[in-house]
């Protein structure tokens, strides 16, 4: 759970950084997307191979993450089969409480996202085969796409808010009350950086700052 989660957080940070290339213009962004899909580690590996290795790696991480979550959920339900009439929450965060359903919802959005930008089966205002830059501009010029992404990224960041703290604690980093405060702060920082970093580009397109 912790390791696969941190792998995905690492991926998100890279992805967020990559998306910001939109601000450098169409050529720069398209060239970057081209490089992602073709030239990474070329000529060490044949052109276009690395992306598949990376996709398989991410897929394994996602599947392992969901599998661990399912096992934990099953154990938790078995361990609290009879419910309390009243429960008073003392220290849990909203993020911690919504990890399970939040995870399911964000995975649903992820499927949509891949159908949209990777498989280009669901096209939001662009033709299949459009350049990555044109896809982004056409999609985020529509308010509902931008809104849907804002909701999705917010759910992702909520997940990251508890996930980063929890993963680092599971890996043994919570060594003192001070460390606990630090890890929670770090999780907030990463979640906020991701939210701002991911959303600034769709918003810029939405408001016509990037065309």
């Amino acid at each position: 759970m912790a390791i696969t989660g941190l792998i995905m957080v690492g991926f998100l940070l890279m992805h967020m950084y990559g998306n910001l290339k939109v601000f450098l213009g169409a050529d720069s962004f398209n060239h970057y997307a081209e490089w992602l899909k073709g030239d990474i580690l070329y000529p060490l590996v044949p052109s276009g191979v690395f992306i598949w290795v990376f996709r398989v790696f991410l897929l394994v991480a996602i599947v392992a993450h969901i599998w661990s979550a399912a096992v934990l959920t099953g154990r938790a339900h078995a361990a609290r089969s009879s419910k309390y009439a009243v429960t008073k929450r003392l220290s849990q965060t909203y993020a911690a409480r919504t990890m399970r359903w939040g995870g399911v919802i964000l995975a649903g959005f992820l499927v949509f996202h891949l159908l949209q930008f990777t498989a280009q089966v669901v096209t939001t205002g662009f033709q299949a085969g459009a350049t990555p830059y044109d896809m982004v501009i056409a999609s985020f010029s529509q308010w509902w796409v931008t809104l849907a992404y804002a909701v999705w990224v917010a759910i992702v960041c909520l997940h990251v808010r508890h996930g980063v703290w929890s993963a680092l604690t599971t890996l043994g980093a919570n060594t003192s009350p001070k460390a606990r405060a630090f890890l929670n702060g770090l999780a907030w920082v990463i979640a906020i950086v991701l939210f701002v970093g991911f959303m600034i580009m769709p918003l810029a397109v939405q408001f016509g700052w990037v065309k």
Partner: protein
């Protein structure tokens, strides 16, 4: 004071239970929560009704026998300004005329025996699985021959204050017994005497924890919030560090 109670009544492990309302009069605010229940039980006995079964022993917050969920919080932590056991919670923490919900610990690993009494022998099995040190019996060695560094000794003593009440399990949304297990692991891992079995202990105790049907820890933190002994959440990270180290060691494989 007058207190309105809604208490979980369950005749035995097999039967279904339900919340039953009672009115307790002449409650003094200096009574402990358990004394208030005693008062109600005297009343019930006089009326020829079955008194409410609840666990208790020392009534001074050191044995770990007592423990019920009060208004949704283990040991009534939400009503008390300080970490407490149920026996050390006093009625002055409640308003006159208040309605109070009283339930047993609810966890798959802690089946209800009767009313508010649950079976916590799962904790004993976790201790039996590794919560001990093996020494050759004989005369006590010279104390100074085994130096215990001050910081580690303090941490061991803090962790050793866990009284095994089970509030952490009761409060955990996952029904996990990690805080209890981590307190025991930390206590023994910090002392020189605990070293020889340190990395086998963490594996055997955790395996027993899982086998007994406790849930997995997802670092939510409700356990440490209700713990009467303020066992900190960082003991769980200490347990995890030992577990990871144990994976790279020969012993116990």
């Amino acid at each position: 004071m007058i207190i309105n109670l809604r208490v979980w009544r369950q005749a035995n492990a097999q039967s279904a239970g339900k919340m039953v309302s009672y009115r307790v009069e002449n409650v003094s605010e200096d009574m402990s929560f358990l004394e208030m229940l005693d008062l109600l039980n005297e009343d019930l006995t006089v009326k020829g009704e079955e008194p409410i079964a609840f666990d208790h022993d020392c009534r001074e917050g050191i044995c770990g026998m007592c423990g019920v969920v009060i208004n949704g919080a283990a040991h009534g932590r939400a009503s008390s300004p300080v970490p407490t056991t149920t026996c050390q919670l006093h009625m002055r923490s409640f308003a006159d005329g208040a309605t109070i919900d009283v339930e047993p610990w609810r966890a798959g690993a802690f089946p209800v025996i009767k009313d508010l009494v649950v079976d916590r022998t799962a904790f004993d099995r976790i201790i039996q699985a590794g919560g001990f040190i093996s020494i050759n019996a004989g005369s006590a060695p010279e104390a100074h021959s085994v130096p215990a560094p001050k910081i580690q000794a303090d941490r061991a003593f803090d962790a050793a204050t866990c009284i095994g009440c089970g509030a952490c399990v009761a409060a955990c949304p996952n029904g996990s017994g990690m805080l209890f297990t981590a307190a025991k692991i930390t206590h023994l891992a910090m002392l020189p005497q605990g070293q020889p079995e340190r990395y086998t202990r963490v594996k055997t105790m955790l395996a027993q924890h899982d086998a007994d049907g406790f849930g997995g820890c997802t670092n939510i933190g409700e356990c440490a919030a209700v713990c009467p002994k303020s066992i900190p959440l960082d003991t769980i990270s200490a347990l995890n560090r030992d577990l990871m180290k144990s994976l790279f060691r020969k012993d116990g494989k």
